[in-house]
Amino acid sequence: MFDCQCQRCRCETGELIRNGNFEVRSSEPNHPFQFWEEVFPSFARVTSDPALTNIAYEGFAAARFNSQNTMEELDKSVALQQTVTATPGCLYRLSFAENLLIKGNGMAAAIPILTAKVIYIDNYGNAVDLIVVPILKFDQNRDPDRGYVYHEATADVPVPCSVSELIVRFEYFENSSIGSAWLLDSVSLRAVCPTSVCCQCDVCNKVC
């Protein structure tokens, strides 16, 4: 770690996630909320319908993962993601709040899973996890409709020096017939330390 204060060596002081409170909806296809993209929908969707998303952690709206009711037990999944620009060599912390509103069911008792991830794509096109937070809900009597719970996870390693883009993704999955509803709000990604570990003396000096 170097004590450089040159601009190139500094990690961000501000919030990296845009519209992390899901207050701004979007009419763009596959974008239920501004800056957020819905990907890989399969018998499940992310909704921004105001009538369904007004149970908020902060502000007035949240994102809602809904899986459809089906006659048979099926795998149901969808993901919501945002790509953010990051500083190579910086360490980041993800935080969010979630609220399993309705727990679906089926013969095998559905186990809805919400997995929060921060990933980057390496030179070979592979997704590499920096942060993974898996949340599983087993109990119909003790898990659903218990209000929002805050989560926070910090990467153990900084963003590689060759990487300047991260994907913040929330993956929803369950195998059920009766679908679940899961709320997500206040997504935040922030730098933990002020200085990039990719900062080198010569880089710093050139900038200065």
């Binding site: 770690m1 601009q7 919030e15 007035f60 935080s95 409709d145 209000g147």
Partner: protein, 439 residues
């Protein structure tokens, strides 16, 4: 001697280069100081990774006497156990699949039950650490169960010194159990002493009952919040001029009830100081941490009326530091015939000479839904300012404003208020001497 980098207010040391004057004499070197270049000094880092092992309790222990890998139970009293999910029960986890279940097993009489779960952790002297965890009181049968999360070090004489303590006690009140997980987080006010390299993370569970209490613990984390140590080490620089992350809010747990001039709570001021429509009182049956919390009440009225009350505290701060506000809130009762959505707004702001307020942190919470918003237990909130306290500003205000228009009685609890500086270097250079700040 320092210099200021263009576009950067703080001085960096100049680069010092040494070159040999003569190839025939190793002892003679020429020292050049290049004031046009900043020089990077490697600092002595604190850990960037998680320090608690198996903090999610996903791994069982190879030792049959212990429930979880890397954790040990101590001081068990009267059939009190820590276990994985019991047979015939489904997992109830905060993250992952498993959690630690503190359980009092049935006993013929009411008696004192207690047990502790602990782990020793290697730390870096001079670093500041933050403890986080989530807990969920599933069932309780009698008296007031308590769970205290602690980080302490032990001196050579065997004395324990708390760096962090988070005491949680819950009355036998339906609003206190089976409300899902509640997140807790606290940062040590001081760094680990320079002669200490190991701390203990411990959870003390205690209740007086005849069995039937079940308290879940999950997501235990201990991480450094300072990026460099303040203790001297060879070959690197110590962190000296950083914003100190101690809690700036006094009586943020609302435990001190010796306030006056319109409020029960020491250091807090109720605005307006008097009023029948809305006011703030202490509440002892549903605390987040400690024994008391602040209860914002919109009183019942014959017709719908606008009811508003705020709790405010002036807080001295260091200019140039960024602030982080955290608190927990619990919307416990919605007044019937609400004419407007009940709102709680948490703010950190400063006021200029013209009495204009400037927000540094703003958190708005609105409870719109009729059923799914009410009495769901405490939610933890944390928000970091994007910009630092302006240079020249030495005080900010922390304020919680409650607002509702209704006929019925509306109640909202607030507890565990913390305002801390992010432990980065301040952007204002007032502490430096011999540097032209106007360059």
């Amino acid at each position: 001697m320092g210099r200021t980098i263009p576009g950067d207010c703080c001085p960096r040391p100049p680069c010092v280069y040494t070159t040999q004057v003569s190839n025939r004499n190793d002892n003679q070197v020429k020292i050049e100081i290049d004031g046009s270049k900043c020089c990077c000094i490697p600092k002595c880092p604190c850990e960037s990774e998680e320090l608690v092992r198996n903090g999610s309790f996903e791994m069982i222990s190879a030792d049959s006497t212990q429930p979880f890998a890397d954790w040990r139970t101590v001081n068990a009293l009267s059939n009190t156990i820590v276990s994985r999910v019991p047979e015939n029960m489904l997992p109830v986890a905060y993250e992952g699949i498993h959690s630690a279940w503190f359980i009092t097993e049935p006993s013929p009489v009411v008696e004192q039950h207690s047990i502790s779960l602990q782990q020793n952790v290697t730390v870096t002297p001079g670093c500041i650490y933050r403890l986080s965890f989530a807990e969920n009181l599933l069932t309780a049968s009698d008296f007031t169960p308590s769970l205290t999360g602690r980080v302490f070090y032990t001196d050579a004489g065997g004395n324990e010194f708390d760096l962090i303590s988070i005491p949680i006690a819950k009355d036998i009140n339906p609003a206190n159990f089976n409300r899902g997980y509640t997140f807790h987080q606290k940062t040590a006010d001081i760094p680990v002493p320079c002669d200490v390299s190991s701390v203990t993370v411990q959870f003390d569970f205690s209740v007086r009952d005849d069995g039937g209490t079940t308290w879940l613990l999950d997501g235990v984390s201990l991480r450094a919040v300072s990026c460099a140590t303040s203790c001297a080490k060879d070959g690197c620089a110590v962190a000296s001029n950083i914003c100190q992350p101690g809690n700036l809010v006094r009586n943020g747990g609302f435990e001190d009830l010796t306030g006056f001039q319109g409020t029960l709570f020491q250091y807090w001021r109720q605005i307006p100081e008097t009023g029948d429509l809305a006011f703030v009182v202490n509440e002892s049956t549903i605390p987040y941490e400690g024994f008391f919390s602040a209860l914002f009440v919109g009183n019942a009225t014959p017709v719908a009326e606008s009811k508003t009350v705020a709790l405010r505290q002036a807080v001295p701060v260091t200019p140039g530091c960024r602030l982080e506000l955290s608190f927990a809130e619990n919307f416990v009762q919605r007044g019937e015939a609400a004419g407007s959505t009940p709102r709680l707004i948490a703010r950190v702001y400063w006021v200029n000479d013209s009495n204009i307020e400037f927000d540094l942190i703003y958190v708005a919470i609105a409870k719109i839904d009729e059923e799914s918003d009410v009495n769901k237990g405490y939610s933890f909130h944390k928000k970091t300012a994007d910009i630092p306290v302006p240079c020249g500003v030495n005080n900010v205000y922390v304020e919680f404003e409650f607002y509702v228009t209704s006929i019925g009685n509306t109640q909202w609890l607030v507890d565990g208020v913390q305002l801390r500086s992010v432990p980065w270097e301040p952007v204002c250079c007032h502490d430096f001497k011999g540097v032209d700040k106007h360059v």
